[in-house]
């Protein structure tokens, strides 16, 4: 039998993928444009005998995740940009306590309350830790409903493997649009192994008592703990950098774009190719770790880059770091909830190519 393709909204596909990944606890708070995700979890988590709580705030929700994660359960929260800002304290604590968790950001435009339309203005916040202290989280950026489901599903195991929180950075367009999706195989959470670091079941685990905490007032000990975490980050950088390349090989200019702006850039690429312009697309799937090395290789081949973003220019700084002055890096962006059209992106690349 052929795989079942379901027509789903991004927000709902993310929810279903999390449930199939064995998520035992979801904690949310209403915010547009991710409300379908919270509603989906309310419908399906409680029905499955799992935990769903509409928390009193985003702050409470992330700390419920912290408590659930401390027991070793697969736990998740979701929100949109202003709500993700509120969760940053909790994400910092999760990192400090080396707890896995999945946080989904169906991003909207800012700053402040901003608007409810899609934006990529949370790139800095997502890829630079986001809260206080020295840390990073893995950041996965889907471009479609299918990829949103796949990356959310995988986020749980990645988070446990490296013991770092994983942020799925979608945006209002990915969350709200409907596409066909093939859903991953369900995992029964009861089959997942208990975690040696977690609290609970001390006797059955035959272990000493566990203390899940991020505090350490001894500078040498805290430094050692942070250095150990950064060694893990080095492993993540080696193992996890992901990207997609489209027609990059002979390209004079390569779009660098992720998520929704990568879809638009792909359209602009096709317009350019129809007109004989050598344009490629480099789409980071992991925003952290960012694929610096591959962009550096392409820069060494003399390729130029046009970072296309739904922001005033954030990822372009990582592209410049990767290129390190070896080539030209340009930027084209829209913000405030505007999505650039493929025509305007094409016009920009044609201008840069002198056509």
């Amino acid at each position: 039998m052929a795989e079942e393709i379901r027509l789903m909204k991004g927000n709902e596909a993310i929810g279903e993928a999390a449930i199939r990944a064995g998520c035992r606890a979801y904690f949310g708070y209403p915010i547009t444009p991710q409300n379908e995700l919270t509603a989906y979890m309310a419908r399906h988590m409680i029905a499955k005998g799992r935990t769903f709580i509409q928390a009193e705030s985003e702050v409470a929700a992330i700390n419920m995740v912290y408590g659930a994660a401390a027991t070793g359960a697969r736990a998740m929260t979701s929100s949109s940009s202003p709500g993700i800002s509120l969760k940053q304290e909790g994400i910092s604590y999760l990192c400090g306590a080396d707890l896995p968790a999945v946080v989904v950001n169906v991003a909207r435009s800012g700053p402040g309350l901003g608007g409810i339309s899609p934006s990529q203005g949370d790139y800095f916040q997502s890829t630079r830790g986001g809260g206080h202290g020295d840390y990073y989280t893995i950041v996965l950026a889907p471009k479609s409903v299918q990829e949103a489901a796949d990356l959310t599903y995988e986020a749980f195991s990645l988070s446990e493997k490296y013991r770092v929180p994983v942020l799925v950075l979608a945006d209002g367009l990915i969350g709200q649009m409907m596409e066909g999706v093939v859903l991953p195989e369900p995992i029964d959470p009861a089959t997942l192994p208990r975690k040696p670091y977690a609290v609970g079941h001390a006797q059955e685990m035959g272990r000493d008592y566990n203390h899940v905490s991020s505090i350490n007032l001894v500078p040498d000990e805290l430094e050692a703990k942070n250095r150990e975490r950064f060694q893990r980050y080095e492993v993540i950088k080696k193992e996890l950098c992901r990207y997609e390349e489209i027609e990059v090989e002979d390209a004079d200019i390569v779009f660098v774009a992720y998520g929704t702006s990568a879809r638009v850039s792909h359209g602009a690429l096709m317009m350019a190719r129809e007109r004989g312009l050598k344009v490629g697309l480099f789409r980071p799937i992991t925003l952290w770790p960012f694929p610096y090395a591959r962009i550096a290789e392409l820069a060494a081949q003399g390729k130029r880059f046009l970072s296309v973003e739904m922001s005033m220019g954030q990822m372009v700084e990582d592209v410049r770091l990767a290129v390190n002055g070896k080539s030209e890096v340009y930027f084209y962006g829209r913000c405030g909830g505007n999505i650039p059209s493929q025509e305007e992106v094409f016009a920009e690349v044609a201008r840069l190519l002198g056509k």
Binding site: A25, E56, V59, Y66, Y93, V199
Partner: protein, 258 residues
Amino acid sequence: MELAYGHPKSLKSIQTKYCPGCGHGVIHRLIAEVIDEMGLQTKSIITNPVGCSIWADLYFDFDSVQPAHGRTPAAATGVKRMLPDHLVICYQGDGDLAAIGTAEIIHAANRGEKFTVIFVNNAIYGMTGGQMAPTTLIGQHATTAPEGRDPINAGMGYPIRVSEMLATLEGTRYLARGAVNNPVNVRKTKQYIRKAFEAQMRGEGFTMVEILSQCPTNWQMKPLESVSWLEQNMITFYQLGEIKNTLSDAPASQAPKA
């Protein structure tokens, strides 16, 4: 010979960092004694607050989780929902519970989360050095109320009776206020803790024991003076006893109406 009295198993036999005359040590011991009596050492998890008792995990000999300041009831919610057959103790001070964590405590109580809050009310911020707490009494001095708490002219607000406030919420089943200023109150407080823990293990709703406790260092008193100050000033404002008891084994007068 039978051991009639000894150090509780659930409390490590090490010296604490708490100041002379501080109530945390006694409260820790009461919790540990009840856990031992109920045979729950390997099934207990404490979520400790930010404040002096952030060090609780050094002293209790069972699992612990240390969340962000004030978020203790949210984290305890996550722990208890995942481990409903464990004893989950949400240990909080007055800054953690009644100031920064007000939203979390009210909503955990209102959801009827099935853990027990041990709310240590010493009417001051201890760890940060004696700032005014939401429970600081009117006229009481603090580094941030140098002339004494003045609710009117300085706009410093009034001391909050948290237990009475939470009693209005239907999710709360057992709310009691004890004190550790003398042996009689210590024993009563232990009974409250035992009732709350037993109710939790029966799966009843939200339970909390508020405990009035001395902070001689930040009250700038000798330990003995602090004990009588608590009696004369705190107990008169924060009345002791069971504030709400709608547990299944509650006396008939307090049981929920059929």
